[in-house]
């Protein structure tokens, strides 16, 4: 019976604590001033790890069918397509419209 994975209470609490620790870290890194592009990278990286932990162990993707994992991956890919190609425009306009 795929999908009927039952996590132990200890395990779930463990996941919760990991998430709290990561939350603390993501706040803490703003205290040490990381230079400009890297602070964003670090913040996003930690957020991605947190999201992945939630998806895998709270939403049980770890034990789920491949198709459901594929769905999540697909949504991320298409979001990146949306952002990536739009940036090809907005980053390279010779005369960005907003500063008319």
């Amino acid at each position: 019976m795929s999908g009927h994975h039952i996590s132990s209470a200890k395990f779930l609490w463990g996941v919760g604590i990991v998430l709290l620790v990561l939350t603390f870290i993501t706040v803490a890194v703003t205290w040490i001033e990381i230079p400009s592009p890297w602070n964003v990278v670090v913040a996003i990286a930690i957020a991605v790890v947190k999201a992945a932990v939630v998806a895998m162990f709270f939403m049980n993707l770890w034990w789920d069918t491949k198709f459901n994992i594929l769905l999540l991956v697909m949504s991320i890919i298409f979001f990146m397509i949306l952002v990536g190609i739009t940036l090809l425009d907005t980053l390279y306009r010779t005369d960005p419209i907003p500063s008319f």
Partner: protein
């Protein structure tokens, strides 16, 4: 997935179930009455309800189009003022796109046919299916309110900043379309899950019909693109309600960003509007050529490829909008790629007909029209995708002609083909073949007369969305207007003989076309639960070299959960599921 399917071979006792010729009880004779219909969760009835609604909107949109064309008979204003003209073309576009074309094949025909082709009793979430219909109705009501409380004159694309500042009731309209989006999403969710989970025993991915593959690809586009439309329209609504300014240059926003948002949905959406049509073409061509489809996997996978590439090209609508030249070049290049999977499809369809025994019944006739018209539409699309050419042609009648060739010449022809193809299954009645062919020819002639001149005047510089024009274009406009009247007559003929068929039509046999596809292996019209047995699939839907008896197998003694049956000769098959 593949491994667990092959490692899971089960032996099933099956026997032949011949579809009943004169079914006593069908889905139309059971659970009747207004209330039963309105609360039904039966996919067939919901499909018919969708069908009635979209035909209603097709009629409204068509009438509006005839008004527009009549105004354009003369260069000067004749009977519609400029503002009214703007409102009418906006409504025509929005209604035809959002209320007719997007739900036409998936929600109406697809709802009816999909579970029949899978051999299951219903879609995975029947109540969600009904919900999606009511969401559609609510969206329609919002739109009607918008029409009667000021109207909308932005064009179906709702470009900012105009849409954020113009009068009328744009908010109602965008909310209506926003709501409609959810109906489309729910249908997509339902179809994907149904195709994944509710296939019959033995029906592996290479034994589902190409119509299902096309619906699958369409549903994927629906779930990936429609939410972006939703957020776009929500932002636009907020723009009008709260002046949030994200798209408003006066407040520091960027109107071109709106176009990115909009076309990220709407280019994929044009594939929502055509890919299901591709599915119908595959079904009909194979059935009426009595031949195995050529290149099953090529056709199936090219649908998915189109779905994917369709997400990479939206910027070809923005070549003149102030987009960076880098983006322009990338989008122009990517646009050409769309031609590849589309070409693959056309090639395979023609190859299917090669040496087949072709029977030019009405559905096939429509598909011939489709092939011809869609080719023109597709090629002119590629022309428009060429950056330099588009600078000249953008916002002219050339674009209008292009998308009418693909949307009307492509999808509407496929829809009509599908409607005629599945009509006997839906209602258990035949229509008048003679008049059906006449109507098809009339429509074909009317269509070309309407839209071919538009290519010419477009390339000569006639801009779109104007209610008057220079005298030099009058000849073309008049031809176009007369063509549209012929088109109108064609549709009236269809309405007449289909009504006649409903009331007085000859009874249809279960399988009037001798098709091997699964939906024909049950009675016409089907019973409330589609099949009286649990169907078992051992052949693909296009295996015309196999005897009909192999397509009518069901699990011995299963009764599909209903009633009792006589046992006759049985045999054992191995079904991998």
């Amino acid at each position: 997935m593949a491994t667990s399917e092959t490692s899971n071979i089960k032996r099933l006792q099956v026997r032949r179930f011949k579809p009943e010729e004169n079914p006593k009880s069908t889905y139309l004779t059971e659970e009747t009455g207004i209330w039963a219909w309105m609360t039904t969760v039966d996919h067939k009835k919901i499909g018919l309800m969708y069908l009635a609604s979209i035909l209603f909107f097709f009629f409204v949109g068509g009438t509006l189009a005839l008004l527009l064309r009549t105004e354009l008979l003369t260069p000067a204003q004749s009977f519609i003022t400029a503002d009214t003209y703007n409102q009418i073309f906006t409504l025509h576009g929005a209604i035809m796109v959002f209320f007719f074309l997007v739900p036409s094949v998936p929600a109406a025909l697809g709802n009816f046919v999909l579970p029949l082709q899978l051999g299951c009793k219903d879609v995975a979430f029947p109540r969600v299916n009904l919900l999606s219909y009511y969401i559609y109705v609510i969206g329609a009501v919002f739109t009607l309110i918008a029409i009667f409380t000021g109207g909308v004159d932005t064009g179906w694309t709702f470009y900012t900043p105009y849409s954020a500042t113009t009068g009328g009731n744009v908010m109602m309209m965008t909310l209506g379309v926003f709501i409609l989006g959810f109906s489309s999403i729910l249908t997509g969710v339902n179809f994907i899950v149904t195709i994944h989970r509710l296939r019959s025993p033995g029906q592996t991915w290479n034994k589902i019909s190409l119509f299902l593959w096309s619906l699958y690809a369409t549903s994927i586009i629906q779930i990936l693109a429609t939410p972006v439309l939703a957020i776009t329209l929500l932002l636009l609504t907020m723009e009008r309600a709260l002046h949030i300014g994200i798209f408003d240059p006066a407040l520091g926003g960027d109107p071109v960003l709106y176009q990115h948002f909009f076309w990220f949905y709407s280019h994929p959406a044009v594939y929502i509007m055509i890919v299901p049509g591709f599915g119908i073409v595959s079904e009909i061509i194979s059935t009426f050529s009595r031949k195995h489809i050529f290149g099953y996997w090529a056709i199936a996978l090219s649908s998915l490829a189109i779905a994917f590439i369709g997400f990479l090209v939206w910027g070809h609508h923005m070549f003149t909008a102030g987009q960076s030249s880098l983006a322009n070049m990338v989008f122009s290049f990517l646009t050409f790629l769309v031609g590849i999977p589309t070409g693959i499809k056309i090639f395979n369809w023609v190859a299917t007909m090669y040496k087949g025994s072709i029977d030019m019944k009405t559905p096939m006739l429509y598909i011939m029209a489709f092939l011809f018209l869609f080719m023109i539409g597709g090629f002119t699309g590629i022309m428009l995708g060429s950056l330099a050419v588009d600078i000249h042609l953008h916002d002219t009648y050339y674009v209008v002609a292009h998308f009418h060739y693909v949307m009307m010449g492509g999808m509407v022809m496929a829809f009509l083909g599908g409607l005629h193809y599945w009509w006997p299954k839906m209602f258990g009645k035949m229509y008048n073949e003679f008049w059906a062919r006449i109507a098809c020819v009339v429509i074909f002639i009317g269509f070309n007369l309407t839209f071919l001149p538009q290519f010419v005047m477009g390339s000569m510089g006639m801009p779109r969305r104007y209610f008057n024009y220079l005298e030099q274009f009058q000849g073309y406009h008049q031809a176009s207007t007369y063509g549209s009247y012929i088109l109108g007559i064609g549709f009236l003929i269809i309405a007449a003989y289909l009504l006649h068929s409903l009331l007085r039509g000859k009874k249809a046999p279960p399988n009037p076309w001798g098709s091997r596809a699964m939906e024909w292996q049950t009675s016409s019209p089907p019973s409330l639960h589609n099949y009286e047995h649990t169907p078992v699939v051992i052949n693909g839907p296009y295996d015309y070299h196999k005897p009909m008896s192999e397509f009518q197998l069901g699990i011995e003694g299963s009764h599909n959960g209903h009633g009792e049956h006589q046992h006759t000769e049985t045999k054992t098959v191995e079904a991998d599921k």
